[in-house]
């Protein structure tokens, strides 16, 4: 069995068993009761502490408590002592320390942990215009905030999920829909929020019923899955070298109208996407085109 010496310090116990001796209880019985509690803590996980006036408390998970309760009842049967089971003890949130990713991220403003990718679209006349906003946890900002102690998997992914959940309250921009990257586990908390959840590809192992976008697929994923069966209202593809080598028929199966091509760094990337029927883009080059559009819009407004 795995020894569980840390349980009482790190994981919050679910409940506690209180041994409270009466005035008529022999000192030997005190010692026996305490020894039994400590034995239960040692063998099944848990912690024994003095509770004042000769009472002792065992904090542990329910199975260990039940074992201890039975052991003590057998010994104390008919003697002057009380055994009380106490309801759940300290809530874990209170027990959490300030050095974990949860606390580090909580202390930072949400905006500092998010990456915003304005989506470039094209109007009826072919002119560029804003087509919404993709918001996702910023991997670099999170890594910088967490420092070397929490580098690597699974901490970075966990931290990204924490940040994504906090972003559930964001309000969509006036110029178009909000695409928010979310873990599928957060969907129940989405409620009627006016945004399109962008789910990691793993969520497609059991796709949700409500509309959603997909983060991906990557070229590696496209090599495995059947593109004709790929669900999702929006596919956030990233421009990567292997994309060019994909068979031409694949784009028809994917339906380029639902693709947003990310990581577009120059005019050539944009042209490449347009040639495949893709109409929405993010990345440095689209950002420049959108900045120009905003300047013109401001000029018109002014």
């Amino acid at each position: 069995m795995i020894p569980a010496p840390h349980q009482a310090r790190h994981g919050p116990p679910l409940a506690a068993l209180l041994f409270r001796p009466g005035p008529g209880l022999a000192p030997e019985a005190h010692r026996v009761a305490r020894a039994l509690l400590e034995d239960a803590a040692r063998n099944r996980g848990g912690r024994v502490s003095a509770a004042g006036q000769g009472a002792w408390r065992l904090e542990a998970a329910p199975p260990a408590l039940e074992m201890a309760r039975r052991a003590l009842s057998a010994v104390l049967n008919g003697r002057d002592a009380a055994l009380l089971t106490e309801a759940p003890a300290t809530p874990p949130a209170a027990a959490a320390s300030a050095s974990g990713p949860e606390a580090i991220l909580r202390a930072l403003p949400l905006e500092a942990l998010l990456e915003r990718r304005p989506i470039l679209g094209f109007g009826a006349g072919g002119g560029p215009r804003p087509a919404g906003l993709r918001v996702l946890p910023s991997a670099s900002a999170i890594a910088a905030a967490l420092g070397p102690r929490w580098a690597g998997a699974p901490w970075q992914e966990h931290a990204g999920n924490l940040v994504a959940r906090r972003a559930l309250g964001l309000v969509p921009p006036p110029e178009g829909p909000l695409h928010l990257d979310l873990p599928p586990e957060a969907l129940p908390d989405l409620g009627a929020a006016p945004l399109l959840p962008v789910l990691p590809l793993r969520a497609l192992a059991r796709p949700p019923a409500a509309p959603f976008g997909v983060d991906g697929p990557s070229v590696a994923a496209l090599a495995l899955l059947d593109p004709a069966q790929l669900p999702g209202a929006v596919l956030h593809l990233t421009l990567e070298p292997g994309l060019d080598a994909l068979p031409a028929g694949l784009w028809r199966l994917l339906n380029p109208a639902r693709v947003v091509l990310g990581g577009v760094a120059d005019a050539a990337g944009l042209e490449w996407g347009l040639a495949r029927g893709i109409g929405r883009f993010t990345g440095p080059w689209p950002d420049r085109l959108l900045a120009a559009w905003w300047r013109r819009a401001d000029g018109r407004a002014g």
Partner: protein
């Protein structure tokens, strides 16, 4: 009572033994006789319409004895009585099996016409056809016997697992004996006509059991990345314990549930190094669809390694959508481990995607799962419902 769900067979799906169709009439029976009828219909391919009268659902305020008498009279009509068998079920429901054409259902609906609103009639009178809907008949039978799975008790939502709590237990886990946190279940070949045998043992990590012991009070659902790490550690400990001398002395087939990261882990490579080439095909490495989608490049590498070394490769999926997206043959899986759930019968994509694959129906804890499997040509099962077959 022991519900005789140790079933059937059916000519269309691989029954080597011919079976006679069930008799058209007979004395009134109970639940066991109805289960036997299901078995015979599956075995022989004989078609029966089962009219399920949920008398327990008759609306309040109706003159129940009166309606029951009318129903009995309808059933006793000569044109029905000659071709019908009646089954009285423990909760007061009645089931009537007739050979086609189904004249009984319209007659019964006429009796109830006017007494019940349209929606209510559908609640009370349900038509099912054997052998196609064997699973639904058996599910209704289980419900009638009070064997239907109770709704899981509402577990209080636990606060999500925190990174520090997990980090604190990881060092101890590296050396731990994983046995208490691994679920070992036989994979059984069950033939509808009655034969059975254990073909393999399936081993899967149970991160929730580990959580219960080491991190009580924390929920894993809202911390998927941390839960996956807990699972990966258990998998690595599992892999370290596979090549024991007693297993190597007489190796038996094992299905190992592994995440993609475990497939290329040091623990797997170390195991691979200790296994003679002839023993490797005994292991079927079973990868969940979600993991493949999360790390396709890692999966492709692990798959190529596993296949080139002679291991079996299984895809774990739970719905038709996953199987359609990750076609088993396309990703070069040699087996599908399909997880049973109540929505599977309504999911046509699941069966369509199984074409030609070796399939294990996992999580077969209820007889309805086995019936659904047989309806769809599956004969390998894993789950508590296989127990009663193996005990015989």
């Amino acid at each position: 009572m022991s519900l005789a769900l140790d079933f059937p067979a059916r000519a269309k799906w691989a029954s080597p033994l011919p079976a006679d169709p069930p008799p058209l009439t007979g004395p009134d029976g109970g639940a066991a006789e109805l289960a036997a009828l299901v078995r015979l219909c599956l075995a022989s391919g004989a078609v029966r319409d089962v009219l399920w009268l949920k008398l327990s659902r008759l609306p309040r305020g109706l003159d129940r004895p009166h309606h029951r008498r009318l129903l009995r009279e309808a059933l006793a009509l000569p044109q029905h009585a000659r071709r019908a068998r009646v089954f009285h079920l423990p909760d007061g429901d009645m089931a009537v099996a007739t050979a086609p054409p189904d004249t009984l259902r319209p007659a019964v609906l006429r009796v109830l016409d006017g007494a019940l609103e349209d929606g209510a009639a559908a609640e009370v009178v349900r038509g099912l056809r054997l052998p196609e809907e064997s699973g639904a008949v058996l599910a209704a039978l289980e419900e009638s016997l009070g064997l239907a799975p109770a709704a899981p008790p509402a577990t209080p939502a636990l606060p999500p697992l925190q990174a520090e709590a997990l980090a604190a237990i990881l060092p101890a886990l590296m050396r731990a004996d994983p046995a208490p946190y691994l679920r070992r279940q036989p994979v059984c070949r069950l033939w509808p006509e009655g034969g059975s045998g254990v073909e393999a043992e399936a081993i899967a990590p149970m991160p929730a059991a580990l959580r219960d012991r080491l991190l009580p009070g924390f929920g894993l659902e809202e911390a998927p990345a941390l839960a996956a790490r807990l699972r990966l550690l258990l998998e690595q400990r599992m892999l370290a314990g596979i090549a024991r001398p007693e297993w190597l002395a007489s190796p038996k087939p094992l299905h190992l549930s592994l995440s993609v990261a475990a497939l290329t882990s040091e623990a797997f490579l170390a195991l691979d190094g200790r296994l003679p080439g002839a023993v490797r095909p005994m292991l079927t490495l079973s990868i969940p669809a979600a993991g493949i989608l999360a790390d396709p490049a890692g999966f492709a590498l692990g798959r190529d390694l596993a296949l080139s070394r002679g291991y079996g490769l299984a895809l774990e999926a739970g719905c038709g959508a996953a199987l359609a997206l990750l076609k088993p043959a396309r990703i070069r899986a040699t087996m599908v481990r399909l997880a049973w759930n109540e929505t599977l019968p309504a999911d046509p994509g699941a069966v369509a995607a199984l074409d030609g694959m070796e399939v294990v129906l996992t999580g077969a804890d209820r007889a309805a799962a086995i019936a659904w499997g047989w309806e769809n040509g599956v004969t390998l099962f894993q789950g508590r419902a296989t127990d009663r077959h193996l005990r015989r």
